[in-house]
Symmetry: C2
Subunit: 141 residues, 2 copies
């Protein structure tokens, strides 16, 4: 079975080091660009400015070595199952079994395969995995 | 770089064929269980009943052949860039460059590494990728 990811583009943010990244997504934050690869650009048709989208991205830093084991946050320990801290799945930590980041933000503009949003908290050049309309939120608002 | 996914568990739903799956997530729908692998169960600590979570899952059917190309929805065509329909990223179609499904639902119960939610629309035994607190929604409500 194919579990391989296909990056559809990249995200430009003002943050070039992990230390510079804010801890949270803030819709009032600086402009960030989602740039799609040419072969995926026409797949943005139907999205509109002002519409909320779910953005999924791959949090692993391209400079990290391949195949490094998943480490439980705050411990550096790969096999410690006796912790009292909050678990990974109760946190937004990037140290996850699958380092997928998620944000829901409104589209400011869509121009030539580039979407502008505001306030993402990830590194510049983070790889983009998916964009979906955030309609799944409407059902229980 | 490691782009390999690690399935953290599976989702049990009442739907054993794609035809049986509903088209949308409905919080009033039937109970569905998220069962974590034993090594990830303690990572649920800190999540609470009633809390909304973002659930990410891998939409590719285990019976599909590996490495099949991405097909644009509704066309079966892998290279058609001249379509007038809504694009993939404006849809929740499972036919995506990365077949990752997403749902935001409240936790009904957490018991022994199993979370119960209601109304997922995916196949029984869908593989689970991640669970996150849905705090990213709070910023712009």
């Amino acid at each position: 079975m194919n579990r391989q990811l296909n990056f559809i583009g990249h995200i430009s943010t003002p943050y070039n080091t992990l230390e510079a990244c804010p801890n949270n997504i803030t819709p009032e934050g600086p402009a960030c660009k989602l740039t799609l690869k040419p072969e995926y650009r026409h797949e943005l048709s139907g999205l509109n400015e002002g519409q909320e989208i779910l953005i999924l991205y791959w949090l692993q830093n391209p400079d990290e070595p391949a195949n490094q084991p998943y480490r439980f946050p705050g411990t550096g320990d790969c096999n410690n199952s006796n912790l009292t801290r909050a678990g990974t799945f109760a946190l937004r930590t990037p140290h996850r079994p699958n380092p997928i980041g998620a944000a829901v933000l409104p589209i400011e503009t869509i121009i030539a395969g580039e979407i502008t949003v505001h306030g993402l908290d990830c590194l510049n050049n983070t790889r983009l995995l998916d964009i979906k309309p955030a309609i799944f939120l409407e059902t229980h608002r």
